[in-house]
């Protein structure tokens, strides 16, 4: 139990630390932050239950007023902004990523994590993010999709990085990937 608690807290802190990584600007001028990489990793490494717990804990601390989001943002205001869906969407994103790696039956850890991150960390996250933006800006879903489409390539890139990282983690530290330990594959 202590181990679960420490891992959940550590991944919440990892998401916060990744928020300090300066945003990389893609070729066409769209900045991407590393913070959702932490969300994908939380789901893909910890599995769905502890991954969700890490995201919940992080979002709770942001709501309590800690400046943990990229750019030192935080407080209750970020829950009223047009981007709120992209923040609250972290919870289902980590859940779907974790569920996919646990249930898909793909033996290759990196492939399972990469596909899970595309499904949870990109697809599910954007469903929530776009819905939130459509409500806040009073736009149709298609218009809101158009407004966020520029960020999708960056997030797909992060999903690839998640897959590569989990692949190496499974090789050098197999015991750290809880969902792999059970069936003994690597």
């Amino acid at each position: 139990m202590e181990r679960n608690l420490a891992h959940v807290a550590m991944f919440a802190a990892l998401i916060a630390a990744l928020g300090l990584v300066p945003a990389i600007t893609l070729g066409f001028g769209v900045p991407i932050s590393a913070q959702t990489l932490g969300v994908m990793l939380a789901g893909a490494v910890l599995g769905w239950k502890r991954g969700v717990a890490a995201c919940l804990l992080f979002i709770l601390l942001v709501a309590l007023g800690l400046p943990l989001l990229a750019g030192g943002r935080g407080g209750l205001g970020v829950f009223m902004a047009p981007t709120t869906g992209f923040l609250l969407g972290w919870i289902p994103a980590a859940a779907v990523t974790g569920l996919f790696v646990e249930k898909s039956g793909i033996r290759h850890a990196g492939l399972a994590a990469g596909l899970g991150a595309v499904l949870g960390g990109v697809l599910v996250l954007y469903v929530f993010g776009i819905a939130g933006m459509a409500i806040a800006l009073k736009k149709s879903l298609a218009e809101a999709t158009l407004l966020s489409a520029a960020f999708i390539p960056g997030d797909l890139l992060k999903a690839v990085v998640t897959g590569l990282l989990v692949q190496v983690l499974a090789q050098v530290r197999p015991q750290s990937i809880a969902w792999q330990r059970r069936d003994g594959a690597s």
Partner: protein
């Protein structure tokens, strides 16, 4: 690590946090329910007046925190100006700015301790339902302590990279950082168990 709560003491710092949060819920609901431009204008005016009351320094840091909505304010204004409904754009921009401003106002005038107390009170019924809310009392300080430690370790990794490579540090540093984090988490887990488990 510091909270976004304002160091300038205002009268609102002494009000109960639960009441401020309830008022914020009511105000936000009203913002989204009332479909009149004059109401949104008055609400933003009131919010700005509340920001101005504690003085210029408070006002300035409050307006600084509002910069997260600026791109979206610009976006809806331009969008609706082009699509021929500028009044609608002004309405949406006002509502967005006011909603964020009021929520930030609660954060700025409430200490971390007061908010954690509200959280504890809200958690009690959930605890009875069997959710392990008591673990939060250990988890929250752990995250607050882990974050600067991880940032410091990430900084050391970046420096080590810069000492050895002419290229810029990139995503390859996330792997050693994740390994350091996993090791630290295991050590802390053992230390917690040795001390009799979480609170």
């Amino acid at each position: 690590m510091i909270s976004l709560s304002s160091p300038i003491r205002t009268r609102a710092h002494r009000w109960p946090a639960g009441a401020k949060l309830a008022a914020l819920c009511l105000a936000s609901t009203a913002l989204f329910a009332v479909d009149a431009l004059w109401f949104q204008l008055a609400a933003l005016g009131l919010a700005l007046a509340l920001y101005a009351l504690p003085g210029l320094v408070f006002l300035r840091s409050g307006l600084g925190a509002l910069r997260i909505v600026l791109p979206f304010v610009g976006l809806v204004l331009v969008w609706h100006a082009l699509s021929g409904s500028p009044a609608e754009g002004v309405f949406l921009a006002l509502r967005m700015a006011t909603a964020v401003a009021l929520a930030n106002l609660v954060t700025m005038t409430t200490s971390l301790e007061d908010l954690t107390d509200v959280l504890r009170a809200l958690g009690r019924p959930l605890q009875r339902l069997g959710l392990p809310m008591h673990l939060l009392e250990t988890a929250i300080p752990l995250v607050i302590r882990f974050t600067p430690v991880l940032i410091q370790k990430a900084g050391a990794l970046v420096e080590a990279w810069r000492a050895r490579s002419a290229r810029r540090p990139g995503p390859q540093l996330v792997l050693p950082l994740a390994l350091l984090a996993l090791d630290d988490a295991d050590h802390v887990a053992e230390a917690l168990r040795a001390r009799g488990g979480p609170l």
